[in-house]
Symmetry: C2
Subunit: 165 residues, 2 copies
């Protein structure tokens, strides 16, 4: 007898739990991410941003002149999806659709000066909220988690793509 719990949980469990799910890394990712997602949405709302528009803004800030198709690839959504995001950001005066010299079909997305300021505000805001959320973890643990998540994402992406190939 290693663990001295009740030997036979035949009928009603005193404490229902998701113990069987917690063995999986994916489930723990979900649990953690759901918290981050909810907090992030609440953080961005006062800035007039949703998670989708916030992500799009970040990519355009970091990659000025990007096209909507490229943006859809980076965000891993369909082209029809970015239209909504860019419409919203453009309507807020945060982003603009500039014409591409060589191609009259595509747009060159750029942030306005107001957009740049909004991003800096959002970036600081999100960073602060994330720090507060994970305040129970030591800085070294956070760094480690960040690195492991990035590697896990790469590993999963690679192996999933190989399946399809």
């Amino acid at each position: 007898m290693t663990t001295a719990t009740s030997p036979e949980p035949k009928k009603a469990p005193a404490e229902p739990s998701d113990a069987l799910l917690r063995q999986f890394i994916g489930y723990n990712m979900k649990r953690a991410y759901m918290q981050v997602q909810d907090d992030l949405a609440a953080t961005l709302a006062p800035l007039g941003l949703r998670i989708g528009t916030y992500s799009a803004l970040a990519v355009v800030v970091g990659s000025p002149g990007i096209s909507q198709t490229q943006l859809s690839q980076v965000l891993d959504i369909k082209r029809s999806g970015v239209v909504v995001l860019v419409d919203e950001l453009e309507g807020a005066g945060v982003l603009e659709r500039a014409p591409v010299p060589g191609d009259r079909r595509a747009y060159s997305l750029r942030v306005t000066s107001a957009g740049k300021r909004l991003w800096q505000k959002a970036e600081a805001e999100v960073r602060a909220h994330e720090a507060a959320l994970f305040a129970d973890l030591a800085p070294e643990d956070l760094r480690q988690l960040h690195d492991l998540l990035a590697r896990a994402a790469r590993s999963a992406a690679r192996h999933r793509q190989e399946e399809t190939t």
Copy 2:
């Protein structure tokens, strides 16, 4: 010079990226979890399960006799949501709504023998897929990631709850 990229990304970026987002732990969680989610859905589909029903099945297996309200609390969804899940599982002969002796309103959820077998199959299947997904990480790293995610989820849950309180 470590990386020899162009020093001034004024106009069109050669390689658009989500670099500005990857600084955040939450974004890396999302990237990793999305991969897991897609793979999980594909893994469960042949078994006739969706992520929602799979999660519900796991909880009922681990907590026999649980009520739908309790299940909604563990899964962190509304009671109206579990009705759909339990309906589906019951329709597949995986689960049954047994009457609760003392309370004629509630149901005592239990897995059938077929349900128990289905869960064992799903559990093994998911474990194998997860191992393949994260094959690039050393076992020790995986263990570490599992632990850090669990702690991060707890930390976030605690701090978010304190805000509301």
